[in-house]
């Protein structure tokens, strides 16, 4: 169990996870990038700059 950097929710990361993989937090649906393994460290995946407005 790793902690989500956005919401502090518990994120279950597969054992064989690799750096740069993307996992999704079940709590807040954030896409998280695996920035380190053993121990796993997660960071918010880069935000897509969608500007839906004017």
């Amino acid at each position: 169990m790793t902690v989500c950097p956005e919401c502090r929710g518990a994120v279950s990361v597969p054992d064989d996870v690799m750096a740069a993989e993307i996992v999704v937090c079940g709590e807040c649906s954030s896409e998280l990038e695996v920035v380190a393994v053993t121990p796993t460290v997660l960071a918010l995946a880069p935000e897509v700059e969608e500007d839906w407005g004017e």
């Binding site: 956005e6 919401c7 929710g9 709590e27 807040c28 918010l44 897509v48 969608e50 839906w52």
Partner: protein
């Protein structure tokens, strides 16, 4: 349980009929309407046309029932309250008559908002469901007040669809005037400010806009925390409050099209979606709540509260999730 719906030809009444007809523990024995007594409910509520045998009845002859839902305009339930309590064991009011615990008769009623009053609702036989905007605002604001994340007043920007005004035609809801309206009909001094204050403990400085929707309430609250806060702190406050709530969903995505609560996906469902964002300097928290005013803001909140009061599974009869697209 045998059930009666008062004001069944109205919008809240129709929604109560839909939910009660689909609820395994409820049997509708009366649906009252003065104007439509004798006619099938489907003439007024076309989505219920297949219940051909269910006719409206006059409101003045009421059979004994286990539960009576009242969806009458302001003042009308109070007027006939003695008659009602003599025929119905449990009364659930969706109107404003008994919302204020300090108003006449109000002390006997428990607030029909399980997210805030679940304990008090167990076993209750008098339930008063809060207004739709107050429900949204209270769910949005109270956890942050509790967590000490706001100061003494909050700017509340409420947006409402046209069904919130009920089924009586007026120039304000005349289609040519309303279809494209962004009508700020109450910029200050809305009477629900008091109800919100009661439920949350802060002054709501409220501005209400009628928006081009039929269903839906969306509340955007702007809070100034006493010190800069982070997103994570706000997440914690909401998770602590609502982690186990069956009808509260936290919606605060950082990507995708639908990042914050939008009432369009809640039509017919009993969810209140809740999300937030924080200014870069941590000095403003924007909280957003959305719900369907006729469901979570009225008929669904009533059924949910009744389920709690009666010890039924809280989601009974409330499983429709909403639609996408709509």
């Amino acid at each position: 349980m045998k059930a009666t719906v008062l004001g069944a030809a109205g919008y809240v009444g129709g929604e109560l009929l839909r939910l009660a007809l689909g609820h395994p523990g409820l049997e509708v024995v009366q649906a009252t309407s003065r104007r439509h007594a004798g006619r099938p409910v489907g003439l007024v509520h076309p989505h219920l046309r297949h219940h051909a045998g269910l006719l409206f009845t006059e409101p003045d002859v009421l059979e004994p029932v286990d539960v009576l839902f009242s969806a009458l305009p302001r003042g009308e339930l109070a007027r006939v309250h003695d008659q009602i309590t003599s025929v119905a064991r449990t009364v659930v009011d969706l109107g404003p008559d008994f919302r204020d615990p300090e108003g006449p008769g109000g002390a006997a009623y428990v607030t029909g908002l399980p997210e805030l009053y679940r304990g008090a609702l167990a076993g209750a036989t008098r339930i008063s469901v809060p207004g739709c905007m107050a429900t949204a605002a209270a769910v949005a604001i109270r956890p942050l007040v509790a967590a000490g994340l706001t100061q003494d007043d909050v700017v509340v920007d409420a947006r409402t669809g046209s069904s919130g005004a009920g089924g009586e035609p007026s120039r304000a809801t005349h289609h040519p005037e309303r279809q494209h309206a962004m009508r700020i009909y109450k910029a200050t001094g809305h009477r629900h400010e008091r109800e919100i204050a009661r439920l949350c403990g802060v002054r709501a400085r409220m501005t209400v806009t009628a928006v081009p929707l039929v269903r839906g309430v969306q509340v955007v609250a702007h809070l100034r925390p006493p010190r800069p806060v982070s997103r994570t702190e706000v997440w914690s406050a909401f998770r602590d409050a609502y982690a186990d709530e069956p009808f509260v969903r936290l919606v605060a995505h950082r990507s995708g099209l639908h990042r914050l609560p939008d009432p369009q996906f809640l039509y017919g469902g009993n969810f209140v979606d809740l999300g937030f964002d924080v200014d870069d300097d941590g000095r403003r928290v924007v909280v957003v709540a959305a719900l369907d005013n006729l469901v979570k803001g009225a008929a669904g909140g009533a059924v949910q509260s009744l389920n709690v009061a009666q010890g039924l599974e809280e989601q009974t009869g409330l499983d429709f999730p909403g639609l996408h697209p709509v």
